[in-house]
Symmetry: C2
Subunit: 300 residues, 2 copies
């Protein structure tokens, strides 16, 4: 089934202990869409400037990613993010952000996107996420991400959003900030009480936790020693997860758990090189091979 | 099969955000022995002072814990540790340590301990661990723990120890310090090259990683929301793991993985109350129930 993602499209400058890349392809919607494209056709909704390299459009279209919803703003500049990772790759600092065309991002969804059954609201203001949600008239499952900034500044809107979506995906510190709970299990259960049918807490190199009314579980990350650039791991996780759900056209508990595992595995590839360089080299069968190893790892 | 543990026996004073307990039963050998006692008879080798409460001796003997190797030093005082946990329970500070009788701890193993096939060298100086190792003439598997302090101050002795033992158990920061690698997978593989047949890196609330020449895997922690006191979780993990290996009288890869899972589950009970208070209330069937849930959690 078609899957829509609404979020940022960026030119990233990334510094890690292993090197630096300037103005490379990035953004939450891009990582998500690529990760999901192993499983299902994806429609990306976002905005770029006149400086957007045409080769990136071709690259994304070479996957099953429909860019009808990607607006190119005349005279505008593409969103830029510049970050630096510390030695352990688990912490990073933002050196510079230039919102550019993202500052005015207020998407009008093409008809095909409005009717899509699976929707992911990636990183963006909660007000914008709500306006997109109003347009998703055909959605059977809407999942949203959020960030510290929106939890702090758009709390009432976020509470409304949580009452209206099926799933919430967020990281550890965001879960703690949202709920005031330091224990992640309490945090996850508390977030669940705020409305969504399920909550996923991403723990980076430690995997991901799932919460619904019926179950709580943790799946570990796939152990990779080649961590080159963690950028986009969280969005790739969400893309792999949602892509699998859309492929199966199902989000029952059994499918959701398998989807979590696929999300974890796509993310484990993402971090093995800068930008989308590692994902560009893999196909579905590489995911399946790693899945077989992952299942073996977890059986005893 | 009998299992010997050599390590500290302590009176702990513990402060967590949820409360404080003074001079309660603790120490690496105590947590280890209790955890292992669900699986196999344990012989504890340690030292206490004249102030050691007789009730604690009775309590340990009420489990399958043989205290022939526990020396009571006339005129001595029992080892004391006083620690305080921060809000997230993942970090702690040591407020006070009184080595007392532990300062001179240089155990002479009773004959039954010398002949035991399974041995765990818990927290203690590496020189002391080596002297104990010399006495373990009947051991088929010796596993050791270590600490930042010994990695820094007894490096040559530690390198000798690593060449002579079957398994090494250590936590994240210790693995990084030992190997100079920040990536835990590289750290684990590097530690393996230093001699042992297997290495386990304990990750606290994030589970544990296993490394041998043939495989690398991660198992997540069992998700418990009732984290009251993390003291002894690592030693309980090791006790559950070694106890299961001793029960099976085997340490092949299949048994080791199941042993890791039991270690994780015993530790998940340990943290649910102060000192050994939670473990005092459970029996083997409680472990088996949680194991069934854990297996369900990891299957998809």
């Amino acid at each position: 089934m078609p899957l829509v993602v609404v979020g940022s499209v960026a030119l990233d400058t990334i510094e890690t202990p292993l090197g630096k890349r300037e103005e490379v392809l990035g953004g939450s919607a891009v990582y998500f869409a690529w990760a999901a494209s192993y499983f299902t056709p994806v429609r990306l909704v976002g905005v770029v400037g006149e400086d957007w390299p045409e080769e990136y459009t071709k690259l994304l279209e070479s996957r099953r990613i429909d860019l009808t919803g990607l607006t190119r703003m005349p005279g505008g500049k593409t969103f830029r993010w510049h970050g630096r990772y510390f030695d352990d790759m688990n912490r990073r600092e933002t050196i510079d952000v230039q919102l550019n065309v993202m500052a005015e991002f207020d998407p009008v969804l093409p008809e095909a996107c409005r009717r899509a059954p699976f929707v992911f609201l990636a990183n963006g203001s909660t007000r914008m996420q709500l306006r997109v949600l109003d347009q998703c008239v055909g959605a059977s499952l809407v999942v949203a991400d959020t960030m510290d900034h929106w939890i702090r500044t758009e709390r009432p809107q976020l509470e409304e959003l949580l009452r209206r979506i099926g799933g919430l995906v967020l990281n550890e510190s965001e879960a703690q900030l949202l709920t005031g709970e330091t224990n992640l299990i309490r945090a996850g259960r508390r977030a669940l009480q705020m409305g969504p049918q399920f909550v996923v807490i991403k723990k980076g190199e430690h995997g991901a936790m799932f919460f619904s009314r019926h179950e709580t579980y943790v799946l570990p990350a796939y152990p990779t020693e080649n961590v080159v650039d963690p950028t986009g791991a969280g969005d790739s996780f969400a893309g792999g997860m949602m892509g699998f759900l859309a492929e199966k056209n199902n989000f029952d508990p059994v499918t959701l758990k398998e989807a979590m595992a696929y999300g974890i595995l796509v993310a484990s590839f993402t971090v093995e090189d800068f930008s989308l360089d590692r994902l560009r080299k893999i196909e579905r069968n590489d995911l399946e091979r790693r899945m077989a190893e992952y299942r073996r790892m977890l059986s005893f």
